[in-house]
Amino acid sequence: MEDANTGELFRRGPAFSLALIIALCLFSAPAISTAEEQSSPLDLDEACQRFREQRLWDELLQTATRHAALEPDRVAHTVRMAEALMELGDESGALDRLEDAVRLGLADVGLLNERFGRLAPNPRFQAIAGDAARALATVNREWRARQYGAKDGLIDNNPRSVQQLRDGRIAIGSENGLVLFDGARFETYSHFSEPSIAGDYLYGVAEDDRGRIWIGSWDDTRDPNVSGGLFVLEQNTIRRLFADGPHQAIAGSVKAVAHSSGSVFVGGRDGVLEIRGEQVTAWGVDDGLPAGQVLGLLAEEDVIWVGSEGGLVRIGRESGGEAVSVFKELGGVRCFTPVRLRSGVLAVPTDKGLYLLAEGRFTRLGRDDGLPSDQVVCLAEDQRGTLWIGTTRGLVVRSEGRTALIEAVIEQSGEPAKIEAIVVTERGSVWAAVRLGGVYAVEERSMVAFGRESGIEGPLVKSVAFAPDGNLVVARRSGEISIWDKQAARVRREAKIDADHEIKKFCGLGGDDLLVTLRNRELRLFNPETGRTSDIDIEMPDGGCSSMYPEIDRQGGFFLGTFSCGLLHWKDGKTTHWGLDAGLTTVQTSNVMLDRSGVLWTKGAGGMTRFDGDEFTLMPLVRDGVECVSWNYAEDLEGTLWVGTWGCGLFKKTATGRPEPDDQLDRGVVTALVPGVDGDMWMVVWGQGVFLAHRSGELVEPLVGLHDYSSELVVLTADEDGAVWFADAERLFRFMYQEQDLEPPRPIIASITAASAQLPVIRPLVVAHDENDIEILYAGIWWRDENKVRFRTRMVGLDDDWSPVTDRADVRYRNLPPGRYRFEVTARNGYGIWSPEPATISVRVLPPWWETWWFRGLAVLAALAMMSLVVWWQVRKYRRRKDREVAQQLDAAERERIDKDLALGREIQTGLLPAEAPQLDGFELAGKSLPAREVGGDFFTYVPLEGGGLGVAVGDVSGKSVPGALYMAVSSSLVEAEARRFGDPAEMLGALNQRLHERLKRRRMFVALLYAILDPQDRTVRLACAGQVPPLLVRGDGDAGFLEARGLPIGGMKSAVYRNTEVSLAVGDSLVLLSDGVVEAESPDGEIYGFERLEKLLSEGDQNRACAATLERILDDVNRFSEGGEQLDDVTVVVIQAAEKRA
């Protein structure tokens, strides 16, 4: 801020001012030297500036020399000394001072060139300038610091230690307690809520390999009854260790805690403890440690470094023994926590500067080396080898031997920031604890702005082009064109275009010339190296064209898209013009782009236009039924054409496909599309911001560090280093993301609450079935900008897919059903890059007792038993049914086979029976046998006998079917044989009984048999009966009756005796021989046909019918009686009718 009074004085006139300056420089020195605290550096700056302008070099040298030690202007005063010496002719002295200035951090190569240009031939100057240029990498980095304090959730603004835990969280030990910060929320443990933390000022914080956090506490200065000590935080609970001693080292204040290889080292008053499980080892003054409070510990594999109020101590444990060494060089120096640098050097912050121990020798860095103070409190080294040094007067970085103050962390409450602790996170963010200032997260800016301090003055044309040497060209509207040195970060040369009108736009043509568009719609060529302006002989349509958009054609010519004239092409003085008559659908072609195949893309009515050199083809762009208009084009590495539209967001078109809307950006005016390095794609969306479609991520918005500039942007230009450059009206901007920017966030699960109770997250979560309202808080550790982190979550076992992307850092599941789940959360950084692995925790909701495994098991067993019973019953039923079916099938098959056999048997049996009745004079005979089954046991036979008689037998084997048939055959044969042997029926039956009795008895079978011998001589019939139905005699007058003839069946009794019965027949008389199947035939209602029915049948009706008719009549009547039902028994009838003898 300018001092108003001083400014007023200078405005009164040069003479008055000069007098005042001289007076100031001559008379203020004693005052300044004696009362530096009251002097204003601004006064000095103003005065010395005037000395320079008045070329009062002696005065400048004296003033600067006198105040060279004044912080923080040591560099500026040293440069002034150098300049004054140079002007006074002491070139060597000037170079000495310049060396000092560069050592102190001067890296402004532009300033060196500008003010000390006359020294340029001197090799020393060249070396100094080279050093400065190398230091530029450090100094020219811009740092951004975000402060977190009590207002953000810290427990207070007075942190004393800062550490990063293994899960990525930042642990902050503060005056009033411990804070764990995950980027989304602050988890606090204070002595107000945790009475076990008795002490205040948490200095030492270390995490061991079991995830326990060890905390060292300082004495409570407000309460003498409370002393600090050692605490451990485990599973959300803090407990105090060694509260009652016996270790003196931690009986009071613990200011240092370190962890290594399973041991925790604790630095207290006058000693150090090693805690390894239950084993505690102590070192104290008696072991060689200097008296006083231990201030810092570094535990390495075999060595423990102890920084204390008494100096630096090394406890060597090599070769199994122990050796305590005290470094005399640091005797009496307050040593803080030592740090092992990547180079192997041990760096020890002390109140006498930063000591570096290498190869047994110490070197020291202090104020003379650019540090703002000799009181170095803490130190950290980042992944790029930059040292971060915390002092009592601010935070500085040191790289390549140069130091730079982090201006963003320069003072708190009007005092220089006193840095208490520094930690570099694993991904490059630097966290600094500032006394009374909270915690600062410091990181390199991705965005750097260059303005007047770099030689850039507006109003600028919002165009940036590359000069042939790779540097940038910027231009003022008024016509001044500047070459901007990227390395020096300054304007290197300026030239003015020879034109009467303002520059509107310019672009490179691939050669030395720029194509410049003027306000009056004219074009010029301008060579920034030579400063030469030349006309270009392009033939414009009448009235000229507005808003021209050039695109070089790689053949020395260029296309021009316009806002009023269609498309133009220029090469070698020849202009080609295409308008509506050539096939364009609009004269507003605007931006044009040549892709790698040589096809030109430009705007079209309702889409975009493809031009292959011969014809224009309109390609519609339609999103949600709305026709869109293209505005910008870019081709990515895979040959996909990105199309930015006017209001419809982004479209993409593959080499062979049609343009399709891309949902990553579904609205907005895309004012720029610029391919970055390695497949990145930059785009500017009007009013929304700058987007980067990073090659490994998604499109995110707005991009980190660019959101403040989007509305000013018109064009981005990406260089080969991966930086994009753009200009607004006043400044030139460079944006280049850091590699650590791209690191994906580390997702962590911060806390879990079930049924209003917070549960530890280190174990699988197990809750009861009625405590199944679960809230899970999570975070994504990405310190570049935690506000840009986004999440997706899912409960595996419940959710089919990831949740939509959200910025919420918590999720709640209500009424989670009993079961086993796995909660997963993954996080995305500001560049759209997702964490490769999700953070997970197993969640198990226990079932109620009626859904427990044992209950279900029992229920299942019971159900199984029931099912088994049912199945057994069904199987049994099925088997039975199947058996029946099989039996039926077998029966059917067997039946079929048997039927065939029986049919064959019947045929055979039929063959055994007489085919026709024999001719016997005086008799007529007719016989028939109908087996009840296919084959039967009945038979009849005629046996011609010697002497002209005829034997007639009707037999019935007890047993039907095959056995009966077999015995029928046997019996029939035997009957015939025996009939021929015996002329007496009774004898024949007796003989037959004797022959068959034994065989039939074994088979329990019998043969009923009636045997009759017909004597044609006198028409007599002599017969004997063995168990067979006696014959029915039917006289010609109708008298019918069964004859009396009986006897046991053949086989019934060996001693059976048979008797003959003889009957004489007259013509017309009939004797009916039959088997019992006739008289035992049953009606459907069970009535027996019986003897009487047959007697009655034959006693009635015509008695003169032929015997065959009588036979059929009997069979018909029996059949009718049975009403066609099943024939139960074989039926055999033989009718013997007495007839007239033939002559």
Partner: protein, 116 residues
């Protein structure tokens, strides 16, 4: 409808009564003979077959009775029938069984006749 033969053995010492019901055919032989032989095995010698429940008696059934008679005669026992329908009685007569077997009007008569 064919009805299987049911056999009920009733002891009226020294007479063993076999009450038969249903259809007495050759198919009934096994069942009838099993009861008969069990009784004979137990020492019975006097048998009465009571036909009061018989609906049907064919030649096959008569053959079974013939076989029974044969075995009883082999052991010197006695067989009688009772409660026979006339048709069955006639059949029994026709085949000559009545030469060896007395047919009583009723079971009691048969028992009494054989017990005397």
């Amino acid at each position: 409808m064919w009805q299987p033969l049911e056999i009920e053995a009733v002891q009226h010492a020294p007479v063993s009564v076999m009450r038969v019901r249903g259809d007495f055919t050759a198919e009934s032989g096994d069942a009838f003979n099993e009861v008969f032989r069990q009784l004979a095995g137990d020492g019975a010698r006097c048998f009465v077959v009571d036909f009061a429940g018989i609906k049907h008696l064919n030649s096959g059934g008569l053959a079974v009775l013939v076989g029974m008679l044969s075995e009883i005669q082999d052991t010197g026992g006695t067989l009688a029938f009772s409660s026979m329908a006339s048709h069955f009685k006639r059949m029994t007569h026709i085949i000559g069984l009545t030469d060896y077997v007395t047919v009583y009007h009723s079971e009691q008569e048969a028992i009494a006749g054989l017990s005397s």
